[in-house]
């Protein structure tokens, strides 16, 4: 991993001599999070303010056949020392050859088709302190070869180095409850592999396009991004990352007005093998009530065959969500939905709304609600953590 970074810096220095003008863009945002209920732990707070900055430098040359991309991220949080964090989201060099392309550096990749969770998406580690929805990712060191042919698109990844998942600090919220007498320390993570975070992982993905059907098959071997368990060492509780093999399939089919989606994985480690699935559809009513507003309906079923032992809260759940797109000049959008557990009464609700203000600002509101959580299940940790979040971002 260290060698890899050394190589990256060398690359950057070499290239920066040939690069005249970088294109700079990005955003700065202020965020307020308010929790409606008293915290479970007196170290936690009711209100959190924070700010974040995400500058992006980009330069392309050689007729756009080569480019350099550097995206940094930093957040300062008023209370949570772990949420105050920095990351290099992207620091990569891309070269396009005749039939294939090469990416070297820290980068981000997205796999999959479903909306409520992203099972097959495994290349990047989740930046969990940013948001518990798993959509924020840490930059992953990679060498990626990609080729797009008549028979499909193939990506081959060499992933030299592992990024540890971020976890909220003791003052952070929402977070998992730490049993009395123990101290959680994400940095004290342990690994199954003797190479620890220097283990080299590999992945391959093929995507086929058949008119209205798109099919993806993927394989990953290496250290799993999700800690399989949390181990106690003295008074320290820390994540334990194990070696896994994961096979993934994702299908999207447009059948008339319906978009059908399915993602499924089979994950194998030395201690467990399990299957998980997300499947459903999205149906959009365009121009409802004679307006320009579109109403999208998303129904997805979430399944994990570990059942009660699942580390994911979604072992037998149903997502019902509505997406309103006003199609106005401010790109106003609202997403509102619930994920209900079909085995018990647990309900997780979410609202996400956004609107551009002027040309340079964007306001985003987000709410998360947890109802009737069951003591033995993961969401029980969040039973006091209903909250509302407002972000105002300035784009440059």
């Amino acid at each position: 991993m260290k060698l890899f970074f050394y190589f990256l810096f060398l690359l950057l220095i070499l290239l920066s001599s040939t690069v005249r003008a970088f294109e700079l863009s990005g955003n700065i945002s202020l965020q307020a999070r308010h929790f409606f209920d008293e915290p479970l732990d007196q170290n936690q707070h009711r209100h959190y303010n924070s700010f974040a900055i995400e500058p992006e430098f980009y330069h392309a040359w050689d007729g756009d056949q080569q480019s350099l991309n550097f995206t940094a991220f930093y957040r300062y949080d008023q209370h949570d020392d772990e949420r105050t964090h920095a990351d290099i989201r992207e620091l990569s060099w891309l070269k396009v050859f005749n039939d294939w392309e090469l990416t070297v550096g820290l980068s981000k990749v997205f796999w999959g088709v479903t909306e409520s969770q992203h099972l097959v998406d495994i290349i990047n580690q989740t930046d969990q302190v940013e948001n518990t929805d798993g959509e924020d990712k840490l930059g992953q060191p990679m060498i990626r070869f990609s080729t797009e042919q008549d028979w499909g698109l193939v990506d081959f990844f060499i992933l030299p180095g592992f990024r540890e998942r971020t976890f909220s600090g003791i003052e952070g919220r929402p977070r998992f409850e730490v049993p009395a007498g123990l101290v959680f320390d994400a940095d004290a993570a342990s690994y199954e592999s003797a190479d620890e975070e220097n283990h080299v992982d590999y992945a391959i993905r093929w995507m086929g396009f058949f008119d209205e059907i798109e099919l993806g098959l993927s394989y990953f071997t290496g250290t799993g991004r999700e800690p399989e368990s949390f181990l106690i060492n003295g008074i320290t509780l820390a994540p334990h990352y194990v070696l896994i093999e994961q096979i993934g399939i994702d299908i999207q089919a447009i059948i008339r007005d319906w978009t059908w989606k399915l993602e499924s994985i089979n994950r194998k480690s030395t201690t467990q093998t399990y299957n998980a699935l997300t499947g459903g559809f999205e149906y959009t009513l365009y121009g409802i009530l004679d307006s320009q507003t579109d109403l999208g309906i998303v129904i997805e079923y979430l399944y994990d065959d570990r059942d009660e032992l699942a580390t994911s809260p979604f072992q037998n759940d149903l997502t019902t969500a509505f997406r309103l797109a006003l199609n106005d000049s401010q790109s106003s959008e609202v997403l509102i939905g619930i994920i209900s557990d079909l085995d018990d009464s647990t309900v997780a609700g979410f609202i996400e709304a956004s609107r551009r203000l002027g040309d340079k600002f964007k306001l985003t509101l987000e709410a998360k609600l947890f109802k009737n959580t069951i003591i033995s299940r993961p969401l029980y940790n969040f039973r006091q953590d209903n909250h509302l979040q407002a972000d105002i971002a300035w784009y440059f």
Partner: protein
């Protein structure tokens, strides 16, 4: 659909063979005009251009988008195109890849740079507004002959320009229009004005082309397109600049991988 097209071409061949056909129907004449307009635009290969899209509401407030557009001519099928947003800043890098087709539904993908996700767009969304503008997705899509049925209405002088006035009726599913009335410049076979009638057959929008320029001595492109919505009194102005033709673009420049690195 296939039968329809075969019929068109048969009719056309009949006309060509039987040179002195006494009278052709208004439908045949409308189609002939569309075919001639299409023929004159053949062979441009590929083009790139910058577009400024200005959205104006009833009160006169406006907001602006900057978009770069690349187009690849596909012989025997609809064109391929890529639109990349530079502004507004919060959607910078958002890109659309479209494979338009004559008969089957267009294929379209959207790339969201913040989460690096490529999303397939259901082609049902034809009548929806393109990025909050008065242009619907179907208005900015590649205009293939087979997408409409035609009828010649009359000759008319439009602001000093001799035009054919033809009516075209969308032959594809999910259009927001019952019909469009189009003024085609008689000398150059390029559109000067199009009036759009909504699903209730009420006048919805008028599109006016201005500032035509000739590229490569053959291909006409308008510098400005003004779309006026008569029902909500909003309008959208497209301003085109930096047209470049025959850049040597290839299929690989219109692939899913190229969408991800569009920038």
């Amino acid at each position: 659909m296939i039968i329809k097209i075969n019929t068109y071409f048969l009719l056309l061949i009949c006309q060509l063979v039987a040179f002195n056909v006494a009278a052709i129907s208004n439908e045949e004449k409308g189609l002939e005009i569309a075919i001639e307009a299409d023929r004159r635009d053949n062979g441009f290969g590929d083009s790139t251009a910058d577009m400024t899209m200005e959205l104006r509401n009833k009160q006169g407030d406006s907001s602006v988008r900057h978009i770069r557009i690349k187009t690849l001519e596909v012989v025997g099928d609809g064109d391929k195109s890529m639109s990349i947003f530079d502004q507004p800043a919060d959607v910078k890098g958002t890109a659309f890849l479209t494979f338009s087709h004559a008969i089957k539904a267009d294929e379209q993908w959207m790339y969201l740079p913040s989460i690096k996700r490529v999303k397939r767009i259901n082609s049902k969304n034809k009548s929806g507004p393109f990025m909050g503008s008065e242009f619907a997705f179907e208005d900015i899509a590649s205009q293939e002959i087979e997408k409409y049925t035609y009828k010649y209405l009359r000759d008319e002088n439009l602001n000093g320009i001799d035009c054919f006035v033809i009516e075209r009726i969308p032959a594809y599913k999910h259009s927001g229009y019952t019909r469009q009335v189009s003024w085609i410049n008689k000398a150059e076979y390029r559109p000067e004005k199009i009036m759009f009638y909504d699903r209730k057959n009420t006048l919805l929008k008028t599109l006016t082309y201005s500032g035509y320029q000739k590229y490569l001595d053959k291909y006409w492109r308008a510098d400005e397109l003004l779309m006026k919505n008569h029902q909500n009194e909003k309008s959208t102005i497209l301003q085109w600049s930096n047209y470049k033709f025959k850049n040597g673009l290839k299929d690989k420049d219109f692939s899913r991988n190229s969408l991800k690195r569009a920038k």
